[in-house]
Symmetry: C2
Subunit: 226 residues, 2 copies
């Protein structure tokens, strides 16, 4: 019998690759997406399709209110998404306060109900080094919290948060996913996707994606506006 | 200028007392309640009133989906709320998986946006020792996580989770709140409140509340069905 895992699936390139890796390792995957008032909420529709394509057991979407607090260009219309490139050593305005903490907490709750002890999250400390909640030390702290927060943890079972992409470049992620037949045409990275489903081509996320496909030598199936 | 604090306010006796203590310490209090599919969702309406009575700056309610995962008598209609007393050393079926982890994560997100570095939560390790996420070691682990999870934490600011009730008995909590003029008639503890607003009188939460008022020598303003 294979083990169950909860996989956080945004519908982006990274989380789709993470799901493919979890499935390839033999986990029964329960995928969790979030509607949190993000500008790129189309992601969630893609997530459902990807979960199905990659053989997940179940896919759920949780509606959550973190966007209501504002403070991020991804959820707050008053803050513009930057389109002029990444500034080194700065936390970008696209950072959503406590986002991965909230996402992992939900994942933990579902994992406990399912009897799963493994969570997968596609965080990456290389290309997104600006986000504090994508770093290995954050993940380790969350595992420690999970073991103290739960009935299962108190009973001596250990939760594990797996981050198979954490030290990979975008190029390496795309190469791994391509080997596992991830259909990247069904993934979204753009922070400001057009209603017609076209990526802007100029936000940080588009820039990183595009450069990743270039470096990987894989044809980028994304439709860019420019 | 006083400091800002985010206060998690369920509308129950403990969180109302916590808010009164935070206000008495001079904090500008931003109160946060959750709709999470709980049976006792009337709590949230009481929370708004209490926040106002006790002088909070703002009160928000976040709609969150943790009830969708099931696994608790508080959110899952298929599991009965126990009415025959508390069993020592067992985690009760009213435990909601990862609830306080999710609540504190939301609180952390809002705190970061507000520029608050203090969170208040009315957990209690004495009367509710069955819940793993009410223990001091859980709170400490959350503080460590918060400092790694956030922009403010990375920039060297420390988050603090204050739990002024954690080692108090229900009797002591009621005595403190009474000194601070908390109107306990406006708080709800019952896990299965009637549509008319009457407490059942027999769930664990009613039993603990009732015994607390008795021990405190304070008149219990709750309307019980039996």
């Amino acid at each position: 019998m294979s083990d169950k895992a909860v996989v956080l699936l945004s519908g982006g390139l990274d989380s789709a690759t993470t799901l493919a890796l979890a499935v390839a390792e033999g986990f029964e995957c329960y995928c969790l997406s979030f509607n949190y008032g993000q500008r790129h909420s189309t992601e969630v529709e893609f997530a459902a399709k990807i979960a199905d394509q990659l053989g997940a057991i179940e896919h759920r979407t949780a509606n959550i209110d973190i966007g209501a607090f504002g403070g991020s260009a991804l959820t707050d219309d008053a803050i513009d998404v930057p389109t002029d490139g990444i500034v080194d050593d700065e936390i970008p305005v696209t950072y959503v306060p406590a986002r991965n903490t909230v996402f992992l907490s939900y994942g933990l709750g579902w994992a406990e109900v399912l009897g799963a002890r493994v969570l997968f999250i596609g965080v990456n400390a290389v290309d997104y080094s600006g986000y504090p909640d994508c770093r290995p030390e954050f993940i380790t702290a969350f595992e420690q919290l999970a073991n103290l927060a739960t009935k299962a943890g108190v009973e001596g079972q250990k939760f594990e948060v797996r981050t198979p992409l954490i030290h990979l470049t975008k190029q390496e992620i795309i190469q791994k996913g391509t080997q596992l037949d991830v259909d990247y045409a069904e993934t979204v990275s753009c922070y400001q996707l057009s209603p017609a489903g076209e990526a802007c081509g100029v936000c940080d996320s588009c820039r990183i994606r595009r450069a990743g496909f270039d470096a990987a030598g894989v044809t980028d199936p994304t439709r860019y506006q420019r």
